[in-house]
């Protein structure tokens, strides 16, 4: 097929991708948007087979088959709670693919002297560097969310020195690859990018991982766009750039939802404050924790007029969304006003809790976002906190210097009674103790949610 028709097919595919992203951004059309984008992708891939200069179809088909089996298998089998790390992994392999493309194209062009014109060289260097950073960074993010790597920020001495040396090494590798056109320096560049990717994500706490994955997502998009410049392929440029741009904006929006500007997430010393905070919390508390039996709590709930459930990551882990839903229905049967308060970052990703509660068939109109529900807490009889911690921690409001200070929270401490269902008193994901637990209005029920 002539190149013109293939480029036309790419245009159709690009329009599908654009419409797909547009529809993904609206609740009603999101699911169809996802499929429109998938159709666009299928068109782009299908017509690529028709490019005349191409051979080795079998190798491609085998690769696509293997990738499909792995992709379908992992997407189907992953539990809803593990989806964030799955997204990180899918993002990582995309970045890895971009880096490999850069390496292969460099190898193909480099032997002929002068074949590496600057137009293509810049693209190769960019996708090799950014693609590798995204690949290794995503693997560390996956490890953190999967608890293979400690979730708390990892800081080591002389970190700044190491970063400076690393930066200089990368600059030198870029310059030497460009001037000598020697593959050795490209290898140095990619190893440096490995170290950079790991060091970039390691110091960031687990609670900030969604923002980091979103940023790495944008990185991979840019790396993909860059391979488009290397291979002179507009479909790659459009697809990659759309993700790079929308991903950057999405990352900023996520940071705003968490009340933490991006710069603070990436470079802020999330790790520096916990010691001070722990000391404050210990001084507050002195173990004056009230515990209760399930019967007491049932009694309390039955005589309440308004009950608000606050689900957190613990609910996701324990798969308790159906039990919560059943309890909610039971209470509604007794004429209790039942609501669910969703913190924007409850769970491990924005929107995570909406997904889980929707899975348990909780009606939309009982789900309340933080801004809507916060003024209601003073008129609420009982708040049931199920496996949530940081998002209800009053320290975010009144303890400057606490790592989560300034994060918007659910004001559950303003309700008449608070029931916290939790496995233990241990601090939440951000590694911060919670004064709410020592509030006299609070009763604790230690159990697997």
């Amino acid at each position: 097929m002539s190149r013109t028709w293939i480029d036309f097919a790419y245009l159709v595919a690009a329009i599908c991708l654009i419409l797909g992203i547009k529809r993904l951004a609206h609740p009603r059309t999101a699911r169809s948007g996802n499929w429109i984008a998938a159709v666009g992708m299928a068109i782009a891939v299908g017509f690529t087979f028709a490019i005349e200069e191409i051979d080795a179809y079998w190798l491609m088909l085998v690769g696509i088959l293997i990738g499909s089996v792995i992709g379908v298998g992992s997407a189907r089998m992953v539990r809803m709670t593990a989806i964030p790390q799955m997204v990180a992994l899918f993002n990582g392999v995309g970045g890895g693919a971009a880096a490999l493309i850069a390496a292969a194209e460099f190898h193909r062009l480099a032997p002929e002297s002068g074949a590496l014109d600057p137009d293509h060289l810049v693209g190769i260097l960019f996708s090799a560097l950014v693609g590798s950073v995204s690949f290794w960074g995503s693997l560390v993010a996956f490890g953190k969310l999967q608890d293979l790597v400690p979730g708390r920020p990892i800081v080591f001495p002389a970190q700044n020195l190491v970063n400076a040396v690393l930066g200089l090494t990368l600059l030198a590798a870029v310059a030497l690859t460009a001037t000598t056109e020697d593959g050795l320096w490209l290898a140095v560049l990619m190893i440096g990018a490995l170290v950079l990717g790991v060091l970039f994500v390691l110091p960031i706490g687990g609670a900030d991982m969604p923002v980091v994955i979103s940023l790495l997502n944008a990185f991979t998009g840019l790396a993909a766009a860059s391979t488009g410049f290397v291979l002179d392929n507009t479909a790659l440029i459009i697809g990659g750039t759309l993700v790079g741009a929308s991903g950057t904006l999405l990352t900023i929006k996520m940071g705003q939802a968490m009340g933490r500007p991006l710069r603070q997430t990436l470079f802020g010393a999330f790790g520096a404050a916990p010691e001070a905070a722990a000391a404050v919390a210990a001084a507050d508390g002195d173990g004056s924790v009230r515990t209760a039996s399930p019967d007491d709590i049932a009694f309390m709930l039955a005589y309440a007029r308004r009950v608000v459930f606050v689900p957190g990551y613990g609910l996701a882990v324990a798969q308790a969304q159906h039990d919560v839903r059943n309890l909610g229905e039971l209470l509604e049967g007794k004429g209790v006003d039942v609501r669910y308060a969703i913190h924007p970052v409850a769970g491990r990703m924005p929107g995570h809790m909406n997904v889980l509660l929707a899975e348990a068939n909780v009606p939309y109109d009982e789900l309340f976002e933080m801004e809507q529900i916060n003024p209601e807490f003073p008129q609420t009889d009982v708040v049931v906190v199920v496996g949530a911690n940081d998002v209800v921690n009053p320290a975010a409001r009144n303890q400057p210097g606490n790592p989560i200070y300034g994060m918007p929270i659910l004001d559950v401490d303003k309700a008449h009674n608070v029931v916290v269902i939790k496995r233990s008193l241990s601090p939440g994901f951000a590694g911060v103790d919670n004064p709410l637990f020592y509030d006299p209005k609070t009763v604790m029920l230690f159990d697997d949610a």
């Binding site: 547009k22 993904l24 609740p27 984008a37 989806i83 995309g94 190898h107 929308s246 990703m349």
Partner: protein, 104 residues
């Protein structure tokens, strides 16, 4: 700098603005599905990987390209399916859908 590069840069610049514009009003609860959906879209590197495999001169290039094809396909297939699974949860509104619950 040649005409082709300028044309490519034009497409790039327009796509940057379009990307920002498309998601300017996304609600918080869609952040995760949107991230996952765009994540699948950058799997379009698969096309690049196919071009590498298809035009490779040496075994090394073929091998690198082949791994890139596998990676790119995982990115696309896994990405779209996971996004669909997330959005499926948002969809089912009718009470008679209850039997579709997943076991814990």
């Amino acid at each position: 700098m040649n005409a082709q590069l300028v044309a490519e840069l034009t497409v790039f610049a327009l796509a940057v603005f379009l990307g920002f514009e498309l998601i300017a009003k996304v609600p918080t609860m869609l952040h995760t599905p949107l991230m996952s959906g765009t994540n699948a879209i950058h799997g379009i590197v698969l096309i690049g990987a196919m071009l590498i495999v298809g035009t490779a001169d040496s075994g090394l290039e073929k091998a690198l390209g082949f791994v890139a094809v596998v990676f790119g396909t995982i990115n696309i297939v896994g990405g779209f399916l996971v996004t669909d699974r997330m959005l499926e949860m948002f969809k089912q509104r009718q009470p008679d859908d209850g039997e579709r619950e997943r076991e814990p």
